[in-house]
């Protein structure tokens, strides 16, 4: 069995895994950034509509967006992007956009949950001081909402890293694809997949640990 691992890591091969991991993390980070921007905007539109009844059409569009991207498999979304919608872009960019737009729908719902959990008294206190609706939203509601949304948001990021393992299909050399590649040469699937699995696991465990620290810190400043 150890021979299998030796072969799977032979020569320069061990470096490939780390290059693959780097690609996986780059795409995940890029995607979550895109997801954040979309998510915050969509969440603010839906929240503003609910609180003040404005932005009706924008909210409709947001609803459609969320329904479509949460209601269909991300694999299908990716193929559509790759083959139909974003054909001219590089594979990396397509991967980041696919997962960014997809996770934006989830992030939006997470942040909206955070926004709606803020007590009306906070808005009233802000308005009674003469702050405009936008100032109340920006300086009072959003900071608190983001704090509350942070733990589920981190969970979404962790899930996203694992979900990106399908991007080999469109030719991106991510961590999983590296394993496929090596197996193509060695004809031995066990060791490479175990190595890759352990690498995903280590990343997830590190992030989970950081998330716990964050949650502790947040609960301290809350109480």
């Amino acid at each position: 069995m150890w021979k299998n691992f030796r072969i799977a890591l032979k020569g320069n091969r061990w470096k490939w895994y780390f290059e693959g991991l780097q690609t996986t993390l780059t795409i995940s980070l890029g995607a979550i950034l895109v997801g954040c921007v979309i998510g915050i905007i969509v969440a603010l539109i839906k929240y503003t509509n609910k609180k003040y009844g404005k932005l009706k059409i924008a909210r409709r569009i947001c609803d459609v967006y969320i329904t479509i991207f949460r209601g269909t498999p991300v694999y299908v979304q990716m193929l559509l992007m790759w083959l139909v919608i974003l054909v001219s872009l590089s594979d990396m960019t397509i991967a980041i956009l696919t997962f960014g737009i997809n996770s934006g729908a989830y992030v939006a719902e997470i942040i909206r949950g955070g926004l709606e959990s803020i007590d009306d008294g906070q808005l009233e206190a802000g308005s009674s001081l003469g702050l405009s609706k936008l100032q109340v939203l920006w300086h009072i509601v959003l900071p608190q909402a983001i704090r509350r949304a942070l733990p589920p948001f981190c969970n979404e990021f962790i899930a996203l890293i694992k979900e990106t393992s399908i991007i080999g299909t469109i030719g991106v050399m991510d961590l999983t694809k590296v394993a496929d590649n090596i197996i193509g040469r060695t004809r031995e699937p066990f060791a490479p997949y175990i190595i890759v699995a352990v690498m995903y696991l280590v990343v997830v465990l590190i992030l989970t640990f950081l998330l716990r620290l964050l949650e502790k810190k947040l609960s301290r400043s809350d109480k």
Binding site: E124, A125, S128, G130, S132, P143, D222
Partner: protein
């Protein structure tokens, strides 16, 4: 007369408020003058909070008129028109039914709506400005938990560009010193007691140098041993001449500090008097009943 008009801070005329079909305010009229300390008392659910919250339009009134420092902050008089319309329609089928009057009423209604729309538009432009000068203190304090005490107090003056950050912090520290909480400037609200929170909330409103302060049961959420410290701050404010409207169950405060006491019931002001007359010589039956219960 001239003098008095100048000194009217808040003027409320025929204020009505519906929640759906439920009429909570049924025509409230009151003028509040500079330096007045008005205590509002009344049974639970009679509309005290609703009345107070209509004054800065945290709650949207249905009809009537509110002026703050002589400027209109709310004006809708459709109700009067509706009453007249109903009276006209009631005569339908009889000889007295007056078609020209009905037509005139219809035209008047269109005029009214147009005027109301224009008024509302200009009010909305200045509403935030008016609110800067109407301080409000809530039963549940509503401090901003993600900001330190100092940031809580300076947020509005700085973001509204009324003061530089340094000036605002200086003012905040001066105010904190006055209530003996300057050592709390850099902690978060969650570390404070209820009484301290409410005193900070008062200071936060004061930092805007308001022309009037509205208090909605400021001591009702506090443990009994903390009520005194908050009332003390409010009493000092009153003595310094701050104009205040205070919804309260603290009869002691109403008696000792207020110069006018108001009894609200069933959505209207049932009785108003000086504290002495109000408590010693109540007229309204429901008020007598109410006082006998709370003053036992």
């Amino acid at each position: 007369m001239e003098q008095q008009e100048k000194n009217t801070v808040l003027s409320v005329k025929n204020l009505h408020k519906y929640f759906g079909k439920l009429e909570v305010l049924k025509g409230v009229d009151i003028d509040i003058h500079k330096g007045d300390v008005v205590a509002v008392i009344g049974p639970s659910g009679c509309g005290k909070s609703t009345f107070l919250r209509c004054l800065n339009r945290l709650e949207e009134p249905t009809s009537g008129r509110i002026e703050f420092n002589g400027e209109t902050v709310f004006k809708k008089e459709r109700r009067e028109w509706k009453a007249a319309w109903k009276a006209l329609q009631a005569k339908k089928g009889t000889d007295e039914y007056d078609q020209t009057a009905v037509n005139e009423a219809k035209l008047a209604y269109q005029e009214l709506r147009k005027k109301e729309k224009a008024t509302e538009k200009s009010i909305q432009k200045n509403l935030d400005k008016h609110r800067q000068k109407i301080g409000m203190v809530f039963q549940q304090f509503n401090l901003f938990p993600h900001l330190t005490i100092l940031q809580n107090i300076t947020l509005a003056p700085v973001k509204l560009k009324l003061k530089s950050k340094e000036e605002a912090e200086q003012t905040a520290m001066d105010l904190l010193k006055r209530i003996g909480l300057e050592d709390k400037a850099n902690v978060y609200p969650s570390t404070l007691s209820g009484g301290q929170k409410q005193r900070i909330a008062i200071v936060r409103a004061l930092a805007m140098s308001p022309d009037v302060m509205l208090f909605d049961e400021p001591t009702s959420a506090l443990d009994p041993e903390m009520v005194g410290e908050v009332l003390k701050v409010m009493t000092e404010l009153a003595n310094e001449g701050m104009t205040m409207v205070v919804v309260t169950h603290e009869m002691g405060f109403a008696k000792e500090v207020a110069n006018r006491v108001i009894f609200m019931n069933e959505g209207v002001i049932k009785e108003e008097n000086t504290p002495k007359e109000f408590f010693e010589n109540p007229q309204d039956e429901r008020l007598k009943d109410f006082l006998s219960k709370v003053l036992m």
